[in-house]
Amino acid sequence: MSTVSLAAALVRPLGLRDNGLRIGQAQIAEAFPLMTSEKKEQASSSEIPQSSLYLLIGRSKAGENAAMEEIFEHYKGSLFNLAYRYTYNRQAAEDLLQDIFIKIFTHIGDVQKEETFVAWMYRIALNACYSYLRDKRSRVVGTVALNEVEGRIEEARFDRHEQSLEKPLNEAINELPEKLRTVFLLHDVQGFKHEEIARILGVAVGTSKSQLFKARMRIREFLRGKKYLGEEKK
């Protein structure tokens, strides 16, 4: 083992220096100022002013439990719904939500710039969701996933309106590949703008737009296949 790899091996277990993210701080540094626009599902109805959020982050870094709880209360809804639409299982979404916030609060000291916090938090959430999907795929090869069955049952309970696309739309979302699902959820469900998504994911704005287009096309095909949308003339 070289000196460098020995040093790396010694150092790695001591901390999570990249916050578990696959994108750099620089990429998310500019994201937050754009994240103050209206969100359909991003946060609770009472938007935290940026200065208050920064104070909460500082107090959380200092170990103040009440400040952490306030951050949790504000973002739990949007992150839970994001997790739910990757799992389509309430218990799995609960577990993911807990994992996400445990990671956030055990590494909040690593946040150097408060303006990157929200993007950093969403990135942690997305990485947790991706891990869940990968684990799920490896568990259910060749079998019917219990989660899927549970998810469909839960969805049926939520389908209150006969004419609503809610249930088939959730099924269509569940069929989307990881990247398309992420952009669709962030844009159409959570209300982020393409510029924000691009910065969170570390991709070009054009990529975000084209992935949203592909996601909508796939959802449309799915819904047409199930006769929820009209047939196209040949």
Binding site: K76, I102, E232
Partner: protein, 228 residues
Amino acid sequence: MRCAAARKLISDDIDEELSESQKKRLKDHLETCTDCLAALGDFKKIAREAGGLPSLAPSSTSWQKIVAAIDKAEPEAPSPLSKGRDRFSSSWMPAGLRYAFAAALALIIIGGSIILGLRSYRGVGEAVYALAKLKEAQHYYVLAIKALDEAIGAQKNGLDPRLAEVFKRNLEDVNGTIQACERVVEKDPNDLAARAYLLTVYREKVTVLEEMMGAKKASSEQRAGLAL
């Protein structure tokens, strides 16, 4: 315009992302293409339905579970919930040893960085890696100095006033040099040589603090011997 191109514009159109000229081209196409007109209606419906999906609430006990899990995870992953503690101040390592551990890590990393290419790095990737490692080493030196400060603070006996004055002046000089180096690094964070100089001064401070701790210990033993 072909339908495939029109549908990309339709997706952007419902997000109000089209320029005036794109809107005009799309409008012209939609006037003659019922399929694309239907796609526009479908895309709008999908976006509207997605935005209106019901919001679910997590369990009311989630926060308690998170707090419990963070507390449980503390020994492995230090938490901000444990105020004032970091991975080098945990109880498993006495204060006097923590600085040595951190300093040893820093030295190993510096060694690795130099081998990798601080002096003659062959590519951008190696330089970036060396820079990252130097940053890591800096981090561990800061921890080492902090731990050493704590260890000295925890020593009960003081120093002879004249010796204490010598250490004080030495530390002031070292601190002044550290501040100067930090300003250079702040100006150009990618300057490998500046970072290496900074680490050298950090190492110097560790040495001074180490000697100070040794002097305090010797003073303490001398007093104990006299007492016997």
